[in-house]
Symmetry: C2
């Protein structure tokens, strides 16, 4: 951080992300979730900027969530944990930043649920950031995205090992939770797209499986299975229910008469990035925000539509398609 | 049926359909699945045509399926039932038609898995039908569709009440099977589209539910829940596994060096219908077949792209968008 605290960038993470955005923790062999984007000489250049990322409230990686223990007992909240909103996530971060003596930042950057947070920051703390860079998000979660979350939620709730929310977290950590695995498979469909799946898997079949075996697998099936089951070893099911709920009820216009009224609050320079093939938060949803912002003559705003076949995941993997745009946004 | 048997139309049903394509059975208050399309004075006009629809092999509504009993025992096949293909479904129908003295038909019409059957008929029994009308299908099931089936299959397999396939069908008929319900919810996502969901549900929330209740519901969630759970009362889970497997391994080019080689077999007039917003079998997949067929100068073939926002379900509900096309195809 430089002396006048003018080089701070806040990064906001997505549904299953965490504060571990880049670099390696001791003993880990996998870097943070946006490691290709953040670091010395990278897009969010840590030689130039002081980058902060905090875990959102409701999650299971540090901030308070449904499996945190209630003071002064040592019981977990579980369903006593309140439903949180994206706005709550943003407010909690703002309180933390105040404690850290950070009252203003250069930029807030995020994709997916991180993009929602960036947009909420822009509306509710208009003077907090000079620049907002929001990617692969939306103005309000649409029913298609809610439907995917629904499959995941129902799949968790119906798993007998979930024990109606009174599971032993150690047990799930060790043995997984098949209901959450299946739900996550549905999630992975929404993170890709018909085109990206065609490119990634085509109709490749597992070499050792027979085509006419009932349980013989296409590569896409192996991919979903692996990612689904693996996921349950590192993510908490109640946190998943709470965070997907926060995403579902996210609506920038809440508390205002309309989206237009909400967007009128914004004072930061706005940079929006949509991905052509994003099936979860469609680029036209980002474009809609951009179009509304463009009517405000005194506000600086811009929109980039990335021509990508990678689906929603593009903001995590096709960094070379928007890195220059972000560098320019940070410097202009 | 007229004397020279020249007015026969074969209708092929989709995944969860049956031979009950139109009209009411005694005591029923719901007509067949394509009732708006088939009947006196309708598109497939039963005053003019003799329309036949048979239940596919592997299904649970009449033809042999995994819950049929093995002769001479009275045990169900369950996993002893062989994996069947769309080609097997078509061959079984052809054998039936031969028994009925029907060796040639005017047209074969079907959508979704019914469209796959129509295309298989065209390739494997080139002289059987004068006209093939295939809608909302594909040349080979793509990974995006396989992925949706995967979620449904895994969800069924992990439900303890499925009992690894050794469930009591009466029990499931009465109590449902939550794993199949969740899987079917994923299916319903693929039958609609982002646009159709926006139009149908928007962000409407159940009037009696609180927005900040963890289990408060958006209308789209109610829709999925209702349809998912209802489905398990009338469909068999093993049949679902077998038929989705048949769909997954469907590939018109199987047994040929290429799709082109397969399509060279066709002698019928071909009418293909794709739906712009179909998320399960994309219109470009139908267009691909049409483009290949168009290179055969001596073959009559045509393609209609229906401008629909209704998603895959359009072939069942937006009949007015292709009924005239089908009537013309049948008569020209």
């Amino acid at each position: 951080m430089n002396d006048d605290k003018s080089n701070i960038i806040v990064v906001c993470h997505a549904l299953t992300g965490s504060h571990h955005a880049a670099g390696y923790y001791e003993g880990e062999n996998k870097p943070g979730w946006w490691d290709g984007f953040i670091g010395p000489g990278k897009t969010l250049d840590t030689d130039e900027y002081f980058v902060i990322c905090t875990n959102v409230i409701g999650s299971c990686f540090g901030s308070s969530g449904p499996m945190s223990t209630m003071y002064p007992h040592h019981e977990e909240y579980r369903y006593k944990f309140p439903v949180v909103s994206i706005k709550d996530m943003v407010k909690a971060q703002r309180i933390l930043f105040d404690r850290l003596g950070i009252h203003h930042v250069h930029a807030i950057v995020g994709g997916s649920m991180g993009g929602m947070q960036a947009l909420q920051f822009a509306i509710h703390f208009p003077k907090f950031a000079d620049k907002i860079i929001a990617m692969a998000a939306t103005y309000a979660t649409q029913p298609w995205a809610i439907a995917f979350n629904k499959v995941a939620q129902e799949s968790i709730l119906h798993d007998p090992n979930f024990k109606n929310g009174y599971y032993d977290p150690e047990d799930i950590h060790e043995n997984g939770l098949s209901g959450m695995a299946v739900g996550r498979m549905a999630g992975h469909i929404s993170f890709l797209s018909p085109h990206s799946m065609q490119e990634k898997f085509g109709r490749e079949y597992k070499r050792t499986d027979g085509l006419y075996e009932l349980f013989g697998k296409f590569q896409v099936e192996s991919y979903l299975e692996y990612n689904g089951h693996n996921f349950t070893k590192w993510f908490d099911p109640l946190a998943y229910l709470y965070i997907t709920k926060a995403i579902n009820i996210y609506d920038l216009s809440r508390g205002f008469d309309s989206l237009e009224q909400a967007l009128l609050k914004i004072e930061s320079d706005m940079y929006l990035v949509g991905f052509k093939d994003d099936m979860l938060f469609k680029s036209e949803e980002m474009k809609l925000i951009a179009d509304r912002l463009a009517t405000r003559k005194t506000l600086k705003s811009d929109y980039l539509e990335v021509d990508s076949n990678y689906g929603h995941d593009a903001f995590l993997v096709e960094l070379e398609k928007f890195d220059k745009y972000v560098i320019k946004a940070l410097h202009e």
